[in-house]
C-alpha cells in the first residue's frame, strides 16, 4: 500500500465554490479528441469525468462485412502510432482460428517489425510527455529518431504511418536487400541517444518534481481496472504477454533472451546502466510509468538485434499472406498481444463463411483511461495532463 501523506490537505481556505471546466476536446495536451470535464475548487481538481467517442468510426460493424485480410487497414487506424503491432494482433488472432503457424523466417520478421514499432511508439510517448510537462525540446529529439524508423518502414512496406504490412499468414512482402544493415546501423546509433533522453527528462530535477509521487496507482487498482502494458508494469505487476501470453503469440518470442521490465523488490533488471530511481518516486506513480517505457525502448533495441541475426540465419519463405476469400472454420477465438501501450485483444466469431460473424477489438488505452478519474482525484490542474500523459493513451484505439 502506497502510504503517501498528502501535503495538500486543506484545513483553512478562502470560501470558493466549485467550477466546472472543460479540458478538451480541442485541447493541446489531451492526445487527440478526449474531453475531460474537471470539477475544480480553485486549483484543486476534485473530480474529472472523461467523455470519449469523438473518434468513433464503428470499425467493428465494418468488420462484419469484410474478410479478415480486408480488415487489416482498419486495425492500422486503431493505434496509429504503433500500427504494425495492431496488424500483428489481428493476424495472429485469425491464424489462431485457422490453426496456421507462419514459417520460422516469418516469425522473426514479425519480431523485428513489431519491436521497431514499439521503439517508435515509445519515442512518441516520451516526446509527448515532455510536451505535457512544458518542455518542447525532447519532442523534437524523439521525432528525429522516429523519422529514421519511419524511413526503414517506408522501405519495407511503402507507408509511413498506416502500413497494413503484417497480415494473416505473414507479411505482404519480404524485407528489401540491404534493409537489415540499415536497421543495424540505426540501432547502433540510437543506443547512446537514449542516455541523452535520460539526461534531458528522467533525471531532470523539475521533471522528477512534476512526476514523482503523482498519480500513484497501487497494484490492486492496476489489476482491478484492467490496465496493461507499461501502466501495469509501472505499478510493479510482473506481467508481460511476450512471456506469459498464449501459445500462438509467445511462439514468436521463444528462444529470445529478454527480461520483463518491472521493479521487483526495489530495482529494475540491470542490463543497461540506467539512472537510479529518485527517492521521491513511489512505485506506481507517473515517473515509474515513464521509466518503464524508457527501459522497454532499450530492451526492444536488444530484441531487434537478436531477431535480425535469427532472421538472416533462417531461410525458406517469409510467409505468403492467406488467400482473400478463404473460408474461415466455424468457432470463435480471442487473443491478446503486447502492443506498446498495453494488451491489444482481438475477438473473432465465425460461422463458417469467409466473412466473420462478429469482430471485437479490446483496446489497452480504453482500460488505461478508465483509471484516470481515480488517479486525478484532488490533484492540481497542472497534474491532470501529467497523469493522463503518463497513461500514454491514443484516442484512435479507445474510440475504434
Amino acid at each position: 500500500m502506497a502510504t503517501v501523506d498528502d501535503p495538500r490537505t486543506i484545513e483553512f481556505d478562502v470560501r470558493t465554490d466549485e467550477m466546472l471546466v472543460n479540458m478538451g476536446p480541442q485541447h493541446p495536451s489531451t492526445h487527440g479528441v478526449l474531453r475531460l470535464v474537471l470539477r475544480t475548487d480553485g486549483e484543486v481538481v476534485s473530480e474529472i469525468t472523461p467523455h470519449i467517442g469523438y473518434l468513433h468510426r464503428c470499425a467493428e460493424k465494418i468488420g462484419e462485412n469484410l474478410t479478415p485480410r480486408q480488415w487489416i487497414p482498419y486495425t492500422d487506424r486503431m493505434d496509429y502510432l504503433a500500427a504494425m503491432n495492431m496488424n500483428l494482433g489481428w493476424a495472429l488472432t485469425v491464424e489462431k482460428l485457422l490453426k496456421y503457424g507462419p514459417p520460422e523466417k516469418g516469425r522473426h520478421l514479425r519480431v523485428i517489425i513489431s519491436e521497431l514499432g514499439r521503439i517508435a511508439s515509445h519515442l512518441v510517448g516520451m516526446g509527448a510527455y515532455g510536451l505535457d510537462l512544458g518542455t518542447f525540446s525532447p519532442f523534437l529529439y524523439a521525432f528525429r529518431e522516429r523519422e529514421k524508423i519511419l524511413d526503414l518502414f517506408e522501405e519495407a512496406c511503402g507507408a509511413r504511418l498506416t502500413y497494413s504490412y503484417l497480415t494473416v499468414g505473414g507479411a505482404t512482402a519480404d524485407l528489401p536487400p540491404g534493409w537489415l544493415q540499415k536497421c543495424e546501423a540505426f540501432l547502433d546509433e540510437l543506443e547512446p541517444i537514449v542516455d541523452e533522453y535520460h539526461a534531458l527528462l528522467t533525471t531532470n530535477a523539475i521533471f522528477i518534481k512534476r512526476t514523482a509521487g503523482i498519480g500513484v496507482m497501487p497494484q490492486e487498482m492496476a489489476i482491478d481496472f484492467g490496465t496493461s502494458g507499461p501502466v501495469l508494469r509501472g505499478s510493479g505487476v510482473d506481467h508481460d504477454l511476450r512471456r506469459d501470453g498464449e501459445e500462438t503469440y509467445t511462439a514468436m518470442y521463444d528462444g529470445y533472451a529478454f527480461e520483463v521490465i518491472v521493479q521487483k523488490n526495489g530495482h529494475y533488471p540491470k542490463d543497461h546502466d540506467y539512472p537510479a530511481v529518485p527517492t521521491e518516486a513511489v512505485l506506481g506513480d507517473c515517473w515509474h510509468r515513464f521509466y518503464v517505457r524508457m527501459l522497454e525502448l532499450v530492451q526492444s533495441i536488444d530484441l531487434v538485434r537478436q531477431a535480425i541475426d535469427r532472421y538472416s540465419r533462417s531461410e525458406g519463405s517469409y510467409g505468403e499472406p492467406m488467400k482473400l476469400n478463404q473460408k474461415l472454420p466455424k468457432g470463435e477465438v480471442y487473443l491478446e498481444t503486447e502492443a506498446p501501450r498495453g494488451q491489444m485483444g482481438f475477438y473473432i466469431v465465425s460461422n463458417g463463411e469467409a466473412i466473420p460473424w462478429r469482430v471485437r477489438a479490446r483496446s489497452s488505452s480504453f482500460c488505461n483511461l478508465s483509471v484516470a478519474p481515480e488517479l486525478c482525484r484532488s490533484c492540481l490542474i497542472a497534474d491532470v495532463p501529467a497523469i493522463v500523459g503518463s497513461l500514454d493513451i491514443v484516442m484512435g484505439e479507445i474510440d475504434r
Binding site: 515532455g130 510537462l133 512544458g134 512534476r210
Partner: protein, 411 residues
C-alpha cells in the same frame, strides 16, 4: 538634453522636444529589442532542438522573420469573445505594455559625468521594481475580462506568482544598493568602474549567490522558463491571452520581451558592472567622460542585457514547467530566506572588510569612495555640527555605518 535645446529654441519647445526624443528612443529600444529577441528566440530554440530556425525570410539568417510575424499579426482580425468586458479587454494589453516600457525611463545606458538616462530618478532601483510590478496588472485585466475560465486561471496564477516574487526580487536588489550606498542606478554603475574585479557580483560570496537568486526571481517575475505558469499551453490552453489575437496579442508579446530586457539590464547594472567592460577600455584610452566612452558603455549594457535574455531563452527550451504550488514553495521556502541571509552576509562582510573588493582580495579603488552624493555633504555637516570628530576618510566604513554610529553617540 533639455538644457542643450534651451539655448536655441523657446524653453517650452526645447523641453517637449527633449522629452519626445527620450520617449522615441525608449520605444524604439523596446520595439527593436523585441524584434531582435523574437528572432533570437527562434534561432536559439532551433539550435537547442537540433534544427535551423528561420533561414529564408529576408536574407541569409531569416532576420526579417519577426517583421513578417508583425505583418501577419497586423493583418489578423482582432477578435473579442462575446461575453467579454469590452473596455477592460481592449485596455489590458496597453496597460501591460505601458508598464513594461516605463521601467526604461530610469535605466541608464551609460554612466559617468553625463549619464545616458532618460530621467535620472534618484531612487532608480526602487522605481524600476515598482513599475515592473505593474505589468501583471494588464495580465489580470486580460484574464478577467476575456470571460473564459482558462484565461481566468492563467491570470490568477500570474497574479499570485508575480506578487509573491516581488518580495525576494526586492530583497536581492537591495544588496547592491547596500554596497553602493545609494539607490541611484548611475551611482551604482559608477561604483563598479575599473577591472571586472570591482563588479559587485565578485565583491563577496554573499553577493555572488544573491545574483543567482536575483536571476531566478527575475525569470519568475517576468513569467519565463520553468515558471511560465500563466501561459502554460499544456494545461491552460494559452493562459491569459487565449482570447487575444492580432495586434493586441502582439502587445502582450512585446510587453513580455520588454520586461525581460529591462530585468536583464537591471541585473547587469546591479551586479555585472553595467557600462563597465571586464577590461576598462574607456579609461585605458582616456576617453572616459567623452561621447565615445559612453557609446562603449552603452554597447556593454546592451550586450549584457541580451546575454541575460539569451540565458532566459536557453533555460526555457531545456527545462519543463513547475507546478503552481512548487513555484510558490520555491519563492517562500528558498528564494526569500536565501535572499535575506545573503543580505545579512553582504552587510557583515561590508562591515568587516570595508575597502576590499573581489572577495576581499584586492583594494577597492579610492576614487570609488568620494560618493558624489549630495546628502553626504549634509551628513558630514551634521557630524561636524553635532560632535567634532575626525573627518570621514576613505578607510572608514561606508558613510551609512559612520553616521549611524555618530548620531547614536551624538544624539
Amino acid at each position: 538634453m533639455g538644457a542643450f535645446f534651451d539655448q536655441y529654441l523657446p524653453t517650452w519647445l526645447a523641453y517637449t522636444l527633449a522629452g519626445l526624443i527620450h520617449v522615441g528612443l525608449i520605444i524604439n529600444l523596446v520595439a527593436v529589442g523585441a524584434l531582435i529577441f523574437i528572432w533570437l528566440e527562434r534561432k536559439i530554440s532551433g539550435r537547442i532542438q537540433d534544427r535551423l530556425g528561420p533561414t529564408r525570410v529576408g536574407g541569409k539568417f531569416g532576420w526579417l522573420q519577426t517583421l513578417a510575424d508583425g505583418m501577419k499579426l497586423l493583418t489578423k482580425e482582432d477578435l473579442m469573445p462575446e461575453g467579454a468586458d469590452g473596455f477592460l479587454f481592449r485596455i489590458a494589453p496597453y496597460v501591460s505594455f505601458g508598464a513594461s516600457i516605463t521601467a526604461f525611463i530610469a535605466i541608464p545606458f551609460a554612466g559617468g559625468d553625463y549619464p545616458w538616462i532618460a530621467q535620472r530618478v534618484n531612487t532608480g532601483v526602487f522605481f524600476v521594481i515598482a513599475v515592473l510590478g505593474l505589468e501583471v496588472f494588464g495580465v489580470i485585466l486580460a484574464g478577467y475580462s476575456s470571460a473564459s475560465k482558462w484565461s481566468l486561471f492563467g491570470a490568477m496564477r500570474e497574479a499570485a506568482q508575480v506578487v509573491s516574487y516581488e518580495v525576494p526580487l526586492g530583497m536581492c536588489a537591495v544588496v547592491p544598493v547596500l554596497l553602493a550606498g545609494s539607490m541611484d542606478l548611475v551611482v551604482i554603475g559608477d561604483q563598479q568602474a575599473g577591472w571586472f574585479t570591482n563588479w559587485f557580483i565578485f565583491n563577496d560570496p554573499a553577493t555572488f549567490i544573491t545574483f543567482w537568486v536575483y536571476f531566478t526571481c527575475a525569470t519568475a517575475s517576468v513569467n519565463r522558463a520553468p515558471f511560465d505558469l500563466a501561459e502554460a499551453e499544456s494545461e491552460l490552453v494559452a493562459g491569459f491571452h487565449t482570447e487575444y489575437s492580432g495586434l493586441r496579442w502582439s502587445f502582450f508579446f512585446m510587453a513580455e520581451y520588454g520586461s525581460m530586457f529591462s530585468v536583464s539590464i537591471l541585473a547587469s547594472i546591479l551586479f555585472l558592472g553595467g557600462w563597465h567592460g571586464p577590461i576598462p577600455i574607456a579609461s585605458l584610452l582616456h576617453v572616459d567622460g567623452t561621447y565615445f566612452g559612453n557609446l562603449l558603455g552603452c554597447l556593454n549594457v546592451l550586450f549584457k542585457g541580451t546575454l541575460g535574455v539569451a540565458i532566459m531563452m536557453w533555460v526555457r527550451w531545456t527545462l519543463p514547467r513547475l507546478r503552481i504550488d512548487q513555484v510558490m514553495a520555491t519563492c517562500l521556502k528558498y528564494c526569500t530566506p536565501i535572499a535575506a541571509v545573503m543580505f545579512l552576509g553582504a552587510a557583515l562582510w561590508q562591515y568587516a572588510l570595508p575597502g576590499r573588493n573581489f572577495f576581499g582580495l584586492s583594494r577597492a579603488p579610492a576614487a570609488v569612495y568620494n560618493v558624489s552624493e549630495g546628502w553626504s555633504a549634509g551628513a558630514n555637516a551634521a557630524i561636524e555640527k553635532s560632535a567634532p570628530v575626525e573627518t570621514v576618510n576613505a578607510e572608514s566604513p561606508t558613510p551609512v555605518a559612520v553616521v549611524l554610529t555618530q548620531s547614536n553617540r551624538g544624539g
